[in-house]
């Protein structure tokens, strides 16, 4: 199965069908028992351990539980992702406000995560995932903890990110969103791909 550059893919399926594992395999958090995985042209099996970090810099991740650092402000949380890969401070100072703008959080840069709503926290997470302009954005049930109305806002951001050329792969249970966006849908069941449909709907998977 191939996911091409710039595509927007929904990964659907019941709990335990392997959606999270799919994403973890792409990140090389898990190793496959057999078969080959190529991410941005790199064969993951042939990648040595110390080359993995470089590959992960091309991938951004967003999670259901946001995974923000509670003791840092919004700005610091996003900057963290750049600091740890050694980007110079001048670069960070320029780029972070831009990306906060993109996700719609300008003006909230000095808030702490516990002062934000779920939707806002997820936007911070997305800003952090996107700030390094990764090639791929992986989202593991990003709207899982968010009400339907706010979820639409989140999806708009993801769409905006996708339009800049970033490939987006999103695992989700949210039938409404899948149905409304009509992107490529890959359905998993018990670890196997049972459907791969362009402009697909959520279908029967629960």
């Amino acid at each position: 199965m191939t996911i091409n550059k710039g595509e927007f893919v929904f990964l659907v399926g019941p709990s335990g069908s392997g959606k999270s594992s799919f994403l973890r395999l792409i990140l090389r958090e898990e190793r496959p028992n057999d078969g080959r995985i190529l991410v941005a042209g790199n064969d993951l099996a042939r990648l040595t351990n110390w080359k993995v970090p470089a590959m992960r810099r091309k991938i951004g991740c967003v999670f259901q539980d946001f995974r923000l650092l509670p003791n840092k402000t919004v700005e610091q949380n996003v900057a963290f992702a750049l600091e740890v890969i050694g980007k110079p401070r001048r670069f960070i100072k320029r780029v972070v406000p831009e990306v906060l703008d993109l996700v719609g959080l300008d003006g909230k840069h000095d808030r702490m995560p516990d002062e934000l709503s779920g939707g806002e926290q997820q936007r911070v997470a997305m800003a952090r995932a996107f700030v390094n302009r990764p090639m791929i954005l992986l989202a593991d049930e990003p709207t899982g903890n968010i009400d339907p109305a706010t979820s639409i806002g989140i999806m708009k951001v993801l769409d905006r990110i996708n339009r800049t050329g970033t490939t987006v792969v999103m695992a989700t249970h949210d039938a409404a969103i899948v149905d409304s966006m009509r992107k490529r849908v890959i359905e998993l069941e018990y670890g196997k791909v049972v459907r791969d449909q362009n402009r697909g709907v959520y279908g029967q998977a629960y």
């Binding site: 990140l27 351990n49 110390w50 995974r67 963290f80 740890v84 890969i85 050694g86 110079p88």
Partner: protein, 301 residues
């Protein structure tokens, strides 16, 4: 820029675990001090030992006017002294013989106890026995042969094995040194365990941050470095304390030993610096290696 970030992380890490860091610093300080003290002891003992190696092994005390020995009938005569001296010199086990007169003995005695006049004031020159100081070819081996050759001879008051007395003294010092080193080693083990525990706790406390660092693609080195340096810095702080303690040990304890000897047994600055540098190497190696091994086990990269 990047170093800024690393230092920030180290500082945060040390502060979050403040009590454990303090415990670590203290234990490292104590164990390094004890190790260093043990080493200083060894050097000190060696310093005094080397002096004695070149000195007398047997003292043959000759009869003097107030001798209590029934073998003595008044002070030793010159003839008796000469005959004893030549007899000793003719023995193959004897390297050389030196005659110390009463006057010379009194002068030496006064010099030895310059710091403690009470010993000097209770005696006078005529209380000092003249002696023949014998140096053996094989120290310790031939005492019996030489001693029996002159014991009971005319004019001999007593024959003293100097090495025997010193032997007991050195055995005591060695025992002390061994005790110090054993305690030091136990503490070193404790220090290792503490370092491992502190790093493990630190890694656990920062698992959110390290998790994100991994996802975002920070290099393994970058992730591990703050923890490694935490361990090393705590070790260095402990070493600084240990160095101060060792300097204290040298200047307060060991320099006081000098008053018991009428020659220079003091340890040089080089000795002290050697011990302190060794302590640093041990301390840093200990903390660094333990941190590294602990990280490999508890920090997922």
């Amino acid at each position: 820029m990047r170093s800024n970030f690393v230092f920030q992380e180290i500082w945060v890490g040390l502060r979050r675990n403040l009590t454990m860091t303090v415990a670590l610093v203290v234990v490292v300080a104590i164990s390094l001090s004890l190790l260093g003290t043990g080493l200083l002891f060894v050097k000190q003992v060696d310093s005094t030992r080397t002096y004695w190696q070149s000195k007398v092994e047997i003292s043959v005390y000759l009869c003097y006017a107030d001798s209590a020995n029934p073998n003595c009938h008044g002070a030793v005569t010159t003839a008796q002294t000469t005959s004893l001296e030549s007899r000793l010199k003719s023995m193959p086990q004897v390297q050389n013989v030196t005659y110390v007169s009463q006057t010379q003995a009194w002068a030496l005695y006064k010099q030895a106890f310059t710091n403690d006049q009470s010993y000097v004031s209770t005696l006078k020159e005529t209380d000092m026995p003249p002696s023949l100081e014998v140096k053996l070819v094989n120290p310790g081996a031939d005492y019996n042969i030489v001693a029996s050759a002159v014991t009971g001879a005319q004019g001999v008051d007593s024959v003293i094995d100097e090495m025997n007395i010193l032997d007991k003294f050195y055995r005591l010092l060695d025992g002390l040194r061994n005790a110090v080193v054993i305690v030091a080693l136990i503490l070193v083990v404790a220090a290792i365990l503490l370092v491992a525990n502190t790093i493990r706790l630190s890694a656990f406390n920062r698992r959110r941050e390290t998790g994100i660092m991994r996802l975002v693609g920070a290099s393994n080195f970058y992730i591990q470095l703050p923890f490694l340096l935490e361990g090393v810095i705590a070790g260095l702080l402990g070493w600084v304390l240990a160095a101060a303690l060792l300097i204290g040990v040298k200047s307060l304890l060991l320099n006081n030993l000098q008053q018991y000897f009428n020659y220079n047994v003091g340890l040089t600055m080089t000795d002290l610096v050697e011990v302190i540098v060794m302590a640093m190497v041990v301390g840093v190696a200990l903390c660094g290696v333990t941190s590294f091994l602990t990280l490999r086990r508890y920090l997922r990269v």
